[in-house]
Amino acid sequence: MKKILNIKINYYFDALLFFFLATFPMYSSKFRIEQMSRYLCYVILIFSLDLLWGYSGTLSLGHSVLFGMGGYIYALSYSLKDGEVPAFMKNAGVEEIPDFLNALSDLRTGIFLAIFMPAVFAFLIGLFLFSSKVGGMFFAVITCALITLASLFLNNQSAYTGGANGITGVGRFVFGGQKLSIPQNYYFILLIVLLVYFFCRWLTRSKFGKVIIATSENDQRVKFLGYKTSLFKAFLYAISGMLAGLAGVLFVPVSGIIAPTDITGTLSTILVIALAVGGKGCLTGGALGIILIEWAQSALSESFSNLWQLILGLLVIFIVFFVPEGFMGKVLGWQEKIVMKRKETNNG
């Protein structure tokens, strides 16, 4: 009994959630499965944001940019894979595939770059910002500005990004010459979600993770213990960027398209809201939060059209006022109190 109480309660939620997700396709329509596949990609994305915000305490408001970078690189690679000039390039007057895109014509290189480039990008930005001691709200504002930069870039370079229309016609993954069906694709994504989940759990429980948690409380003190904290945080940002890129790669084959609207501030904001509502710093809260909010958004907008945003707004205000630590944070707090009380009565 004592042992059962000591296991953190969010692990039970994780198991339940996974069971739900694993059985979901058995009783759902193809439309719902595809919808849930999209949410699964967001789950990876929210894990990557939780590593940053929940564990190291730095809020990134531009996380959708890293996601979009992964998605765009993959989509570009997909449309170049036959060696022909894709339609959106032809429309922009590009007759031949430029040299710098040659590497992308191999899909495997494309996937690698789609995951690797956001990591490098995040690392450089992180190194620059963290070593010049930019933290807290300033970090959030600067990452927010990245969204504007990214959409300017996408619209200006329409020859390579498809401009406002984005890159369309991306198919699902192909394994052994066979295109995955919608449920197969769903399970493929779920498998990767599971791997990412275990990776994040391992990372946050490692010594690296403990150092990161320590920097969220007092960066200066961690420096005095002998850690180069700005390097640690930049590295974490790189890992976060890598996972965001991975989420982008998985997302594009599900939706079939990536466009500037996919990486706008709306996605970044929804992620932050979902993490705040679900509870940050435990992975579980974010996963629950994003699935519930996305589901609510879809269910409410199907029946109330524009009213859901109002309802969502009220929910956020309610949470921030009454449960600032989020749903999972509250539940974990209760558990900790119970465990502490039992310890006291045992000792006394």
């Binding site: 490692s206 005095f224 002998g226 850690y227």
Partner: protein, 254 residues
């Protein structure tokens, strides 16, 4: 004469014109327990900032064990040269457990690659575990091992931070008001612990509490307006008219 650990010559720093430290000379022998006192604004904490690399001096030299500390970064001074600092307010990590607080403090494995791979090194991990439990026993926190540090009392937090200093295996320990906010009993116990550490460690303790200074100090340095005003045993300092005028007298007035 014993080996010199810390040698400071003509140290100066000014912040936008204000001379916080204005030509300080300080020699601390290896294994010595030195108390540093002085009224508010005397430059005590600034001096500690300079030694640990947090602030950069505008002039003068700081040598530790014969090596210049000028231009070295905070992490490097802490880990490579073994100078550990305990801050005025207890700076423990309340989101980590008591054990984890020491786990991040323990000397060694402080690069990114090593913090990632450390979990796989079972032998080393076991040795570290035994070492941490030993420290926890020394600072009376072994029963609280798996409790988040946020649940500790103020005094216990101070002790945990002293434990972190020990775990760093530093040679030079800098205590910035180690007994702030402690009960009389806790203060006395801390004093005895610090005395026990002297000899194997070199210790600089910044303090306000004169009874505590009397309890621990072999030698006292008095700072005033960024300069060394007097230096000597507690008894000598107590009788020094200059010190009485700027510092001790102020205390009596209050």
């Amino acid at each position: 004469m014993a080996e010199l650990a810390l040698r400071i010559r003509d140290l100066r720093v000014s912040f936008s014109g204000f001379k916080a430290i204005d030509g300080v000379d300080l020699d601390v022998e290896k294994g010595e327990l030195r108390a540093i006192i002085g009224p508010n604004g005397a430059g005590k904490t600034t001096l500690m900032d300079l030694i640990t690399g947090k602030s950069i001096p505008t002039g003068g030299t700081i040598d530790y064990m014969g090596k210049s500390m000028l231009g070295k970064s905070v992490p490097s001074i802490a880990e490579k040269y073994g100078i550990a600092r305990k801050f005025q307010n207890p700076n423990v990590f309340s989101r980590l457990t008591v054990y984890e607080n020491l786990y991040v403090a323990v000397k060694g494995n402080k690069t990114i690659a090593k913090t990632l791979s450390f979990g796989f090194k079972h032998k080393k991990k076991k040795a570290v575990k035994e070492y941490i439990e030993d420290i926890l026993t020394q600072v009376n926190l072994i029963e609280y091992k798996d409790i988040a540090a946020s649940y500790l009392s103020h005094g216990q937090r101070q002790w945990l931070e002293i434990g972190m200093l020990l775990a760093q295996q530093a040679e030079l320990l800098i205590f910035d008001e180690p007994t702030a906010g402690m009960t009389a009993d806790e203060t006395y116990k801390t004093g005895e612990l610090i005395k026990k550490l002297a000899g194997t460690h070199t210790i600089l303790a910044v303090e306000h509490d004169m009874a505590f200074v009397k309890q621990i100090a072999q030698k006292v340095t008095v700072l005033n307006q960024g300069r060394v005003l007097a230096e000597g045993s507690y008894e000598e300092i107590e009788k020094d008219p200059k010190v009485i005028q700027v510092y001790l007298k102020e205390d009596y007035d209050e």
